[in-house]
Amino acid sequence: MPQKNGAEQSDASGSMPKSQRTKIIKSSDDSEKKNLAKKIKDTEICVPIVYGNIAFWLGKKASEYQSHKWTVYVRGSTNEDLGVVVKRAVFQLHSSFNNPTRIIDSPPFELSESGWGEFEVAITLHFQSDVSDKPLHLFHHLKLYPEDESGPLSTKKPVVVESYDEVVISEPSEALFARLQHHPAVIVPRLPAGFTLPSLPIEDLENRNRGGTKDHNPLNQWFSKFSEADELLRLAAAREQVQGHIARLRRQLSLIDGQQQQQQQQLKTASDM
C-alpha cells in the first residue's frame, strides 16, 4: 500500500463510555500461565470499526466494464490499526471477478478494484488467536453511483458509504486485556485499583500503529466521522417525550380508577335504597 502523508484525522467520536462493572476473580496461588488465561468477568473490550467503500468515477478513462475505481475496507473508527485484534480480512467479491475471494493478511484491511457493478461484498474478519477462533461476518453493499441519480458524475468527488459497528469481546482473558489495554484502536474499561494484570513485554511503540489509516492513507480525507453524541441526544429527547406520555397516561388511568370506584359506590348505595 503506498504510504503517503495525508491529513491527519482527529478523533471523531465524542465521549466514549469507559466505566464498566468489573468483577475480579480471586486469583489463588495458580501458576502465572493460568492467571493469564483467566477471564475477567463482566468486562468487555470494544473495538469500534467502520467498514464500507469509496468509489471514484473514472470519467474519460472509463470503459464499459471498468467505469469506477473502488476500494472496500474495514478500518478502525478513529483510523487506528486494527491488526492488534484482526489477523486477516477476507473480502468475497462478485463471482465475475477473478479470484473473487481476496484475503488481506495485514492491515490496513482494504481492497481496491475497478468495475462497473454494485453488489454485496461479504467481509469476514478473522481474529488473532487470543481474541477468538470464530470469524465474524459483515455485509456491505458496494455503492458506485450517488443517491442523486440525475446529478453529473464527478471524478473528483467519490461516493462514500460507510457503516459503523463495534466488535465486542466479552470476558477477555487477562493476557488479552494486558495486551490491548494501551492500544488506541481499542476501548478498554477501567479496572478497579486493586486489580493487577500480569506484566507483558511492551510492544514496540513505533510499529504499533503502522497499519492504521491515520497518516498513510490518501483516502482518509473522505472518511466520515461518526459521532455518538448526536444519536444520544436524539435518543434522550425521544425517551423524555415517551416518559412524559407514560406519566400522563398513568395519571389518566388512576383518575378513571377513582371514578369507577366512586360510581360503584354510587351504584351500591342506589341499589340499597
Binding site: 466488535v167 459521532s227 455518538e228 435518543l235
Partner: protein, 452 residues
C-alpha cells in the same frame, strides 16, 4: 287393520305365527326346584356353574353331640373401672359357659401420658410462657382426652393455640424422657426424640393448607399457569446449560416467578399475579439472549442489539412491533442506530421498552374507558356545557339510563347514539384498528372531560 287392507297384506298370517310361537314357549317353562319367577330372572336358562359353593355354607347343626342353649348371664368388663354388673345372652355349650374377658375390652386403649413430679418440674421444665399450673392443667386434659388436642385446646382455660399446646406437651415429654433416661443413647430411638415437634413449621403448614383449601377456582387456574410457565423457564435454562458448557449468569429474573409459585400463601390477588406473570416472559427472554451473547464471546454490537430487541419484544405481537417502529420514526429516531456504541445501544433498547410500556398503557386506558362507560346508569351531575366531541369509536357501548338523567344527559347521548349509527360502525372501542395513535389518545382524554 285398514293399513293392511290398503297395503294388500293378508290379515291372518301374523296372528297365526303368534299362536304357533306361544305353545312351545310355555312347554319350556318347567323349572326344577326353584320357583318359576326366580327361574325367569335367569333369562330362562339354567346357570352353568353354581354361584355359591355349597361347602362354604355353614352347616346348620355342628354335631349332634353338643347341646346348645342360650342363657342370660352377667359378665364383667375389664375395661370398666367401676364394678358395674351387666347381663347379656351367652351361648352355652354343654352347660359350660364361655370364659375370657369381655370381647370388646381389648379395644380400650389409652395413651401413656407422662407424669412428672414437682421436683422434675423445677429441674427441667420451667418455661417463660408457661406456668406450672397451666402445664399441670394441660397434662390433665391430655390424659382425659387422650391427646386429642383440638378438644384440649377447646377446654383449656386460657386461650392457647393447638400448636402451642402441642409444642409444650411434646417438649415437656422430651425433657422428661431425656432426664429420666440413664444415657441419651437409650432414648434416642424414641419417636418423640427422633422427630421433634416443630411449632413454626406446623403453624406455617396449617396456614398454607387452609389457604390452599380456600383457593377460588380462578386462583387455581392462575397457579397452574404460573407453574407451567416456571416449568418452561427451567427447561429453557436447562437447554442453555446443555448447549453451552460455561456457567450462565444467575437468572435472578426467574426467581420472582418461582417465588410466586411457592408463595401461594401470600395474598396475591388476581391483578397482582398478572403483571408479574406477564413481565416474566420478556425478562426471561432477555436473560436467555444475554446468556447466548456471552457464549459467543466475540460478536458485533449491532447483532447484540438485534438479539436484545427481539428478546424484549418477544411478548408483543407483530402489530405491536410495527407500532413501536412507527413511534420510533415519529420521534425521529433511526430504527437501527447509525452509531451503535454501547451507550447508544443501551439507550435505544430502553427507548423501545418505554414505547412498549406506553402502548400497553394506551391499551389499558381504552379498556378502562370501555368498562367505565358501561357503569353509567345513575343520574349525572353534569353541567350542560359545550357538547363533547362526538367521537365515533368511544360510543359503542351499552348504557341504561334512568328517566331523570335523560333530561340532562339524554339528549347528549341520544345525539351520540345517532351519530354512532350514522357511519354504521359497530366495532368495539378496544378492537378498532390502529390507524393513528395520537387521535385515539385525545379521544380518551376527551371522554374524561365529559364524565368529570
Amino acid at each position: 287393520m285398514d293399513a293392511k287392507d290398503i297395503l294388500g297384506l293378508p290379515k291372518n298370517t301374523l296372528s297365526m305365527q303368534e299362536k304357533k310361537s306361544k305353545p312351545p314357549k310355555e312347554s319350556q317353562r318347567k323349572p326344577d326346584g326353584i320357583s318359576r319367577e326366580v327361574y325367569a330372572l335367569t333369562g330362562g336358562l339354567a346357570p352353568l356353574m353354581p354361584a355359591i359353593d355349597a361347602n362354604h355354607l355353614r352347616r346348620k347343626v355342628q354335631t349332634e353331640n353338643e347341646k346348645i342353649t342360650w342363657q342370660w348371664l352377667p359378665f364383667s368388663n375389664s375395661a370398666r373401672k367401676d364394678n358395674l354388673q351387666l347381663y347379656h345372652w351367652v351361648r352355652v355349650v354343654n352347660s359350660v359357659p364361655p370364659t375370657g374377658d369381655y370381647s370388646f375390652a381389648k379395644y380400650n386403649k389409652s395413651v401413656d401420658v407422662i407424669k412428672y413430679t414437682d421436683e422434675e418440674y423445677e429441674k427441667h421444665l420451667t418455661d417463660n410462657t408457661w406456668t406450672k399450673e397451666e402445664t399441670d392443667q394441660l397434662f390433665d386434659l391430655c390424659e382425659r382426652f387422650d391427646l386429642r388436642f383440638v378438644l384440649i385446646a377447646d377446654r383449656f382455660p386460657s386461650s392457647k393455640t393447638v400448636e402451642e399446646l402441642k409444642d409444650r406437651y411434646y417438649s415437656v415429654s422430651r425433657a422428661i424422657l431425656t432426664a429420666r433416661a440413664s444415657s441419651p443413647g437409650e432414648v434416642s430411638g424414641h419417636p418423640l426424640l427422633k422427630e421433634p415437634y416443630n411449632v413454626s413449621q406446623e403453624t406455617e403448614r396449617k396456614r398454607a393448607l387452609s389457604l390452599l383449601l380456600s383457593h377460588t377456582k380462578q386462583q387455581e387456574r392462575k397457579d397452574v399457569e404460573v407453574i407451567a410457565h416456571a416449568k418452561r423457564i427451567t427447561e429453557a435454562r436447562k437447554a442453555i446449560k446443555a448447549s453451552q458448557e460455561p456457567p450462565v449468569p444467575a437468572l435472578s429474573e426467574s426467581e420472582p416467578v418461582n417465588a410466586d409459585k411457592d408463595d401461594l400463601t401470600a395474598d396475591t390477588t388476581a391483578p397482582c399475579i398478572n403483571p408479574q406473570f406477564l413481565s416474566a416472559n420478556p425478562v426471561s427472554e432477555t436473560a436467555t439472549a444475554v446468556a447466548s451473547l456471552h457464549m459467543l464471546r466475540v460478536y458485533l454490537r449491532t447483532y447484540a442489539l438485534d438479539q436484545m430487541v427481539q428478546a424484549v419484544s418477544s411478548s408483543a405481537g407483530l402489530r405491536t412491533i410495527k407500532r413501536v417502529e412507527q413511534t420510533l420514526q415519529d420521534l425521529g429516531v433511526n430504527l437501527k442506530p447509525k452509531v451503535p456504541t454501547k451507550a447508544v445501544c443501551a439507550e435505544h433498547l430502553e427507548l423501545r421498552k418505554e414505547i412498549l410500556t406506553l402502548l400497553n398503557l394506551q391499551k389499558q386506558l381504552q379498556y378502562k374507558e370501555a368498562e367505565g362507560s358501561s357503569f353509567r346508569d345513575s343520574s349525572y351531575a353534569e353541567t350542560p356545557g359545550t357538547p363533547p366531541k362526538q367521537s365515533q369509536r368511544a360510543a359503542d357501548l351499552d348504557r341504561t339510563f334512568t328517566p331523570e338523567s335523560l333530561q340532562i344527559g339524554g339528549e347528549r347521548f341520544v345525539k351520540r347514539e345517532q351519530k354512532r349509527k350514522g357511519p354504521g360502525r359497530s366495532s368495539d372501542a378496544p378492537s378498532s384498528p390502529a390507524q393513528s395513535k395520537r387521535p385515539r389518545k385525545y379521544n380518551a382524554s376527551d371522554l374524561l372531560n365529559i364524565y368529570m
